[in-house]
């Protein structure tokens, strides 16, 4: 009963309450008079202004007058004068620095880590290939017969640095000559295990952030597409005809500039299914893959990785693939 009466007393005012949101606080005016204010400490200003919708909600509920509320935002260097007049310490340039830092921080997402990782994996592959090639040559001067038998890098790291057995046309190494080769062999081995580690990591975060893309394109190709596009958001907004030739930018420019043949595929060429079709059908397969990848990516991006639809997409691809074969 009492509460009801109290409510009745607080009549609804005709004149609206004007709420001004500034980078240093929120102010409510009614009939030209300040009726409520909330000042922020300089060190909290950027953070509070960044989540001003939240701050506003709370502030609004504390306004002592019942009336329509109109919200204005005060922003810009001229409010420095307003602050000064009201005895508030405020520096717009410093505020903008802190505010921009928050914007940068909020702009990060897991796909940026995918880009870093896939770029690192590509560099790692280059390093591994160079070291392998040079080390094969080096150890081969000592034991050419053994190196000749070894065909893969995995086999090679198991034998590199081993003491020779039997007759050899190789140069006779002394202890120290062999020792340094052995050290390189150990480093190469650890680079291979690093490659293993980062590949697993990429697969894991790809599955978390873009599960459908990961299934349709494969984790590595999917990650490469994200990296070339510059983010999952950018890839999601690309037409599938662009996705089809991502990774073939050089050929595309040559086509535009000199009228050479346009590329039919970029990184999609290394997709597992490409090996199942004839050369002349690879462009067609790339188009099919790109269109399904495009759908997968959009679903991943807009559902934040929550909707799972890849099974249908892969069935579609397989049906179309049968016709090509």
């Amino acid at each position: 009963m009492r509460r009801q009466r109290k409510k009745k007393q607080k009549k609804i005012e005709k004149e609206p309450v004007i709420i001004k949101v500034a980078p240093f606080g929120i102010f409510a005016f009614h009939k030209g008079k300040l009726v409520k204010k909330e000042l922020w400490k300089e060190k909290d200003a950027a953070g509070n202004f960044f989540k001003r919708d939240e701050m506003l909600k709370e502030f609004k509920s504390k306004i002592p007058i019942r009336a329509k509320q109109e919200i204005e935002t005060l922003f810009g260097p001229e409010i420095e004068k307003f602050a000064k007049k009201n005895g508030i310490k405020f520096n717009f340039q410093k505020f903008m620095i802190e505010f921009t830092k928050l914007k940068i921080k909020a702009g990060f997402s897991k796909d940026k880590l995918i880009i870093q990782s896939i770029n690192m994996l590509e560099e790692l592959n280059k390093v591994i290939n160079i070291l392998y090639e040079k080390l094969r040559e080096w150890y081969g001067t000592y034991w050419p017969e053994k190196v000749e038998q070894v065909k893969t890098i995995e086999e090679f790291i198991r034998i590199v640095g081993m003491k020779r057995e039997g007759q050899s046309m190789g140069f006779d190494f002394e202890e120290e000559d062999l020792e340094i080769v052995k050290s390189f062999g150990e480093e190469l081995k650890s680079l291979l295990s690093l490659r293993e580690k980062i590949s697993h990591y990429i697969e894991k975060i790809m599955t978390e952030t873009a599960p459908n893309l990961t299934k349709v394109a494969g984790p590595i190709i999917g990650a490469k597409l994200i990296a070339i596009a510059g983010g999952l958001d950018k890839l999601a907004k690309m037409p599938s005809s662009t996705i089809q030739v991502l990774g073939a930018e050089k050929a595309l420019f040559r086509h535009i500039r000199r009228g050479t043949k346009p590329p039919k595929y970029g990184v999609l060429l290394s997709h597992d299914l490409m090996r199942k079709v004839k050369q002349k059908n690879r462009g067609k397969l790339a188009r099919i893959l790109a269109s399904k990848i495009s759908i997968a990516t959009r679903v991943d991006y807009y559902s934040k990785g929550r909707d799972i639809i890849w099974k249908g997409l892969i069935e579609d691809i397989n049906k179309k693939l049968e016709k090509l074969q």
Binding site: P77, I97, T100
Partner: protein, 223 residues
């Protein structure tokens, strides 16, 4: 070594065999881009490399005017990591302001470190094609624009609402950002025509040999 005033405010000639231009360092001792600092008679100069800044290249190529003054307010579109903007900041000095608009967070990260030292540089992470995002910027005396986008003239027109009456703008255009297949001279002529609808062209300079297929226009807002 000889240091002399150039005909442009805040810009100096440094002669030491080769001729270089420089500004007076607003933050003595600070050289964030590995630029050369030269001290003479208690004044520290920052060498302005025309291979790294299109405005410096335009000056080296003999642009007629560079009407930037101490205390000016500047809107800089496409500030990247703030390299060129930091020289503009030297010229306008501590009573001037440089509003640095840049869309890419990665380079903005570097610009922030520069702005933490140079208190007249104001970082704005925003899209220059959409001036609504930074409507709060006050009226400015000068706009520098270097966004490497196809519709440069259009972007400048959209931003000219920030420009004071008779304010100036300098705009750098790279032909390849506009169209990779057309001839640079044709592209530049098209942009010039479009600029003329709203601005008076004071001068233009091709930037070879400092930058290939680039041009800088200096324009004034029509009254």
């Amino acid at each position: 070594m000889k240091i002399t005033k150039s005909k442009f405010e805040g810009i100096y000639w440094i002669e030491n065999g080769k001729k270089k231009i420089a500004t007076i360092n607003l933050v003595p001792g600070y050289a964030p881009f590995g630029e050369q600092l030269i001290k003479m008679n208690d004044v520290e100069y920052r060498v302005w490399n025309p291979h790294r800044s299109k405005w410096a290249a335009a000056i080296m190529k003999g642009i007629k005017e560079f009407p930037l003054k101490k205390g000016d307010k500047v809107l800089y579109l496409g500030a990247a990591s703030g390299q060129s903007a930091s020289y503009i900041s030297d010229i306008v000095g501590k009573d001037g302001k440089v509003f640095c608009v840049e869309i890419a967070p990665r380079v903005m990260r570097d610009l922030i470190f520069v702005a933490e030292k140079k208190e007249n540089m104001i970082p704005i992470l925003a899209d220059a094609t959409n001036p609504k995002e930074y409507e709060f910027v006050e009226k400015v005396d000068f706009i520098f624009q270097d966004v490497a986008m196809p519709n440069q003239a259009e972007i400048l027109k959209r931003n000219s609402k920030f420009l004071k009456k008779n304010g100036h703008a300098m705009i750098a255009v790279k032909s390849r950002s506009v169209d990779v297949s057309a001839k640079p001279s044709e592209i530049f002529a098209k942009i010039e025509k479009s600029l003329k609808e709203k601005f008076e062209i004071i001068d233009k300079k091709r930037l070879e040999p400092y930058e290939m297929d680039h041009i800088v226009f200096l324009v004034r807002q029509k009254g």
